[in-house]
Amino acid sequence: MARLRTADREAAEELFNACYPRLAGWVRRLVDDDETAHEIAAEAFTRLLSRWSGLDNPQSYLYMIATNLVRDHWRKTSRERRAIRTMAATVPKEPSWHPAQDVDVRDLIESLPPRLRSAFLLHYYGGFGVKEVAVLLGRPEGTVKADLHHARAKLKAAVGEVS
């Protein structure tokens, strides 16, 4: 039994080492600071490792957990962030948009309907193919493709409204 536990732990550590840096980086682009990104990535791994032996695709599961945790984080902090944005609205905006300004885009993504948001994050940001996203979300591939199309259209429309 001790040997099996060792095997379990070793495999878990291998998975952790292979996936953590990218997962944490992925989360970091969706939250406001490194600490939160590490917290969410660690929590995602904790949930995965507490039940991973029954999973066929632990990496996909990790990203699904992280997506849900990011959503929860957004929900918790939305009131605070709205308040901060209201205060910041008095400060003149920079004339040009820069890709590093993730928060603006993040706000737009956050405003997507949950159905579109999950597909969008997993496909365009998590690097999962349409087929994988379909499996992850339990939807037909065609539906996922349509959701992705609608998500992009909504985001572009939202960008137009903002600008």
């Binding site: 495999a11 952790f16 080492n17």
Partner: protein, 440 residues
Amino acid sequence: MTNHQRDPIEAWLSTDVELMPPPPGAFERVHRRARHRRAMKAVTAAVGAAVIIAAGVTVPQLASGLLSGHPTPPAKIALRPEPQPMPAGGPSALPGPRLSTAGHGPPPAAGFRPLSVTFVGPSLGAVLGRAGRCGPGRCTAMAGTHDYGTNWTEIAAPPAGPPDGAAGVSQVRFFNAKNGWAYAPALYATHDGGESWHAINTKGRRVVDLSTVGDRAFAVLASGCTGTGAQFASGCTRFRLFSTPKSADRWQSVPGASGTGLAAPGGLQLTGQGGYLIVGGRLYAGPVTAGRWHLVPPSPSTPGCLKDHAPHEVRLIAPNLDALYLTCGSTQGTVSLGLYVSRDRGYSWRSLPHVPVAADAATSLATSPAGPLILASKTGLYYSGDARAWRKARGPVPAGGFSFAGMTTSSNGVAVAAAPVPAVYITTDGGLSWRARSIR
């Protein structure tokens, strides 16, 4: 890109993800929390046992292949467009037993003498050695085990002989049951578990060291070498680090990790968080992706052996998730090895009590996730649980001592004798005691 200013969605999506290595000790915390939560779940003992067994069987396969179909982290791909120096080529060995069949095939070749050992999990491993008379290009043999060295069976070996100039092999490393490399000084690869091997053209360079982690393999190649036979790595004047995805032969030079200096076997050490390479008194560090490495600049606390480049200096490094250990000492007159630890990836160092082993006797340093240090030497194996107090490990010491020791898990480790004895040495208690396991 005229729409960069107008379409932040496109720009946002095209911005690479910045990799964020875990903080020190993160895995330990995660593992502990997960274990606690699992314990809290109301599952029956029978179901729990089934879960653990299933994990032991399936998870290594899942984990090792996780990133194969996933985009390589783009933020760290900063490869300079240097030509690939090592296109695949050369003859293949006749198909033979795969590593995955270890334990179910014919016995190892008569007179098998191990030189190098590799494990890809808590029980599956392989040794590379010599068997029979060494004719031109053919006396390398391999054996595999599926029960951590208790039983061995023959597996296919690369069509190579002992080191001879830039030809021949003396070491082996498997990433998993499929992808492996035989090297030092030539380089052979297998992607079918050893059933077939093919030569990699190193263009005359000698492979001094090779290691694997994450989803990649890294190799240190040296040039300008003058050594022959087993001393193939001596006299080398230049080095360059290469890496490849584990399941392919796309070797490319790692930017930032090349230059002058004598690269020694064992100088390349990788963890999931990053890699280290020590060459001629210089320490290089970098990501275990295809990203750029850098020379770690000396600081006031840097040990002298990393500031000078004395040729008669033994320098051994061993990293784990929390620390990087370094032993060093001159082979000319020093009676013991200095020991140092860095917890910030080689930037600052703290001195620890010396290791009670002569510098010219030390051959290999290892550590494990749990932290103990194991030093292999010509006089035996030494163990320290706290990097301060050392004791000689229990168990037989072959004539000439050991050439290598490594830990595959916190409890399991393996050592190779310096002399050609038909056995490897196994520990299952974290390095405190070792037993010989015959290969026959």
